[in-house]
């Protein structure tokens, strides 16, 4: 039999249900492999012992009706987990132990999932390379000293290295899809309002969404079915009829209309991305889709809009870290002095930079020129998509403008780092579902992804197109376990 850790979530569930393997065997395999993979630095907090204990408890009293029967799962350390340290990759939350559970993780435990550990991420999810984490860089298992993408970089690394069967990330401007693209894995950002934000450390509340990351499309459909739920505890959670995403998954997408937006052909885009996109269009045609050229005229304004909206909301959300009720406290002569020193020592450079930008654009006299202006442009970006969806059912684009880069390569230039998210950010601004699937490699043999964007609440079509294209693409990660001890 193939190694347990290289099985898909679907295969693991089947094997457990057929009693071919026990939950404890599965947990042991992932714990062992994780223990031997410390060089990747994917974990911030391990929950290995507890996971093994809970898996035994599951085996003693199994419930095979659950959707994730006894499956160990490591999650991004941005989800609050009751009694388990939650850091958001920040020094300021280094010792924070929540007394509550995020709804998304609770949904996973309710269906039989078991917490394996908390995965590294960019500090407060602000970054595209996992280099802003207080807990250090994460290695991409694809090659040494390559970033795993970000902000869900610990998640993408752990997933690609088979340290967890599936994982969950959060995506504010591309933080699920970009790391998935960089590691040859699948990452889905659901429609805004699908997955509850309750208990997720907040970054930019009008953009943040949790979503599944997995080795294949089917696994994402299983996990999405578990985590997507209406939640009264999140005031922007939306009460809509959710599909049984995994049982309704089909490769029959004949006649589906897929739009190709010309504005995504950006200046300086490498040839290999252009080629990948063209290949993707051919695959989509092979699957029976009808290809239609569309225009999203305000695409080039998305990143500038995002870099007003996201920092503005972040500066407001992060005002809560003041050294009083939880987290780090630095000593100061007065209350204000204590606040200022705590925040200066507790936050890293990128987080401070974004708080400063956010504070500036919201400050008196600048609000209309920046924040209000950005909200208006956001409206135009959303209208672009609304109009496109009168003609098409889904949109196909590259996921990122490049493959994974070396650690340190872009960390000194914030704007060049921000450009990573050029194809993913418009989707967050418009609140749409989007998935990244591995579709090929570049000249270095590093993975490249394609993105499928759907109509609001139409995750099913996004998944179906991805499922169908995945079969034609038949991508295989070539990972050599170079980091293993």
């Amino acid at each position: 039999m193939t190694e347990i850790t290289s099985l898909s979530l679907f295969e693991l569930i089947e094997n457990i249900k057929e009693k071919k393997i026990s939950s404890n065997e599965v947990a042991k395999s992932f714990v062992d492999r994780s223990e031997k993979s410390k060089k990747l630095n994917a974990y911030v907090t391990e929950n290995f012992e507890n996971c093994l204990k809970l898996s035994k408890e599951f085996d003693n009293k199994p419930n095979f009706d659950l959707k994730l029967p006894g499956i160990p799962i490591a999650v991004k350390d941005l989800f609050c987990t009751n009694e388990v340290r939650t850091t958001a990759g920040s020094n300021i939350l280094n010792n924070f132990v929540p007394s509550y559970e995020s709804t998304v993780t609770q949904n996973i435990w309710n269906e039989g999932g078991i917490l394996l550990g908390k995965l590294n991420c960019d500090e407060f999810a602000m970054g595209s390379s996992n280099e802003t984490s207080f807990f250090g860089n994460v290695q991409n298992p694809i090659a040494k000293d390559l970033v795993p993408g970000g902000s869900s970089g610990g998640s993408s690394s752990a997933l690609a290295a088979n340290l967890t069967p599936v994982t969950i990330g959060t995506d504010t401007g591309g933080s699920i899809r970009q790391p998935a693209s960089f590691t040859g894995t699948v990452g889905l950002k659901p429609t805004y309002g699908s997955c509850s934000r309750y208990g997720i450390v907040a970054f930019a509340s009008s953009l943040d969404q949790a979503g599944p990351m997995s080795k294949d499309v089917k696994d994402s459909s299983i996990l999405l079915e578990v985590i997507s739920s209406f939640d009264k505890k999140d005031s922007t959670s939306i009460d809509f009829k959710r599909n049984n995403y995994s049982s309704e998954l089909t490769r029959n997408i004949k006649g589906i209309k897929i739009g190709i937006p010309k504005e995504y052909r950006v200046d300086g885009m490498p040839d290999e991305i252009e080629k990948l996109w063209k290949k993707g269009i051919e695959y989509a045609k092979d699957c029976g889709a009808e290809i239609i050229d569309i225009s999203l005229p305000h695409t080039s304004y998305a990143l500038p809009t995002y870099y007003i909206v996201a920092p503005a909301e972040a500066s407001s959300n992060l005002a809560r870290y003041d050294g009083v009720k939880y987290g780090l406290r630095s000593s100061g002569e007065s209350l204000i002095d204590m606040y200022e020193k705590t925040r200066s020592e507790g936050f890293g450079e990128e987080v401070k930079r974004r708080i400063m930008i956010g504070t500036y654009v919201l400050s008196s006299g600048y609000y209309d020129a920046y924040y209000l202006k950005a909200q208006k442009v956001r409206q135009l970006i959303k209208q672009d998509f609304d109009q496109a969806y009168n003609k098409v059912d889904a949109i196909l684009t590259p996921s990122t403008p490049s493959s994974a880069f070396k650690i340190g390569e872009k960390s000194n230039d914030p704007v060049s780092m921000y450009l990573n998210d050029i194809f993913t950010v418009p989707v967050n601004l418009a609140g749409l579902p989007g998935i990244s699937i591995p579709a090929g490699t570049d000249k270095n043999n590093y993975p490249l992804g394609l993105q499928i964007i759907g109509k609001p609440f139409d995750e099913q079509t996004v998944l179906n197109v991805a499922y169908s294209m995945e079969e034609k693409i038949n991508y295989k990660n070539n990972i050599t376990d170079w980091w293993m001890e």
Binding site: N95, V97, S99, Y100, Y192, G193, S206, K232, S235, T236, H298, S300, Y301, L303, P304, Y307, I308, S315, V324, K325, Y326, G327, L328, R329, G332, E333, S334, L335, I336, D337, M338, Y339, E340, K341, R343, S344, K352, R353, M356, I357, T359, Y360, S363, G365, Y366, A369, Y370, K373, A374, Q375, K376, V377, R378, Q379, L380, K382, P414, V415, Y418, G431
Partner: protein, 105 residues
């Protein structure tokens, strides 16, 4: 290029502004770091200036993607008494209180 309806205040962000913003954000800043931050902010704002190309006088701002009115809930306690768990996370406490540096003379 379309004429902009709002003239952006795209003067460069100087050290004095950076220090003022850091006060507002309650983040203490060393002189050396303030200079680097001013440079970074300027390059980011240069990039943001692109928005001034767009005419947006008659566009409604998009404040929320979820087009629902925010729900209200009954003002009722729903959690158990978790005072101790909450206080356990505080950097400094005294009995049932959070402790902060003295604020009154």
């Amino acid at each position: 290029m379309v004429l902009c309806d709002i003239i952006f205040y795209h003067m460069t962000i100087d050290l004095k502004t950076v220090k003022h913003i850091s006060k507002l954000a309650r983040i203490s800043l060393e002189e050396k770091k303030a200079e680097k931050l001013a440079n970074d902010m300027n390059s980011i704002f240069e990039f943001i200036e692109k928005l001034s190309e767009l005419k947006t006088e008659n566009v409604e701002p998009l404040t929320s993607i979820a087009e629902t009115t925010l729900r209200l809930r009954e003002d009722k306690i729903t959690s158990d008494n978790i005072r101790e768990k909450i206080l356990k996370n505080s950097p400094e406490k005294n009995d049932d209180f959070f402790v902060v540096p003295k604020v009154v003379e």
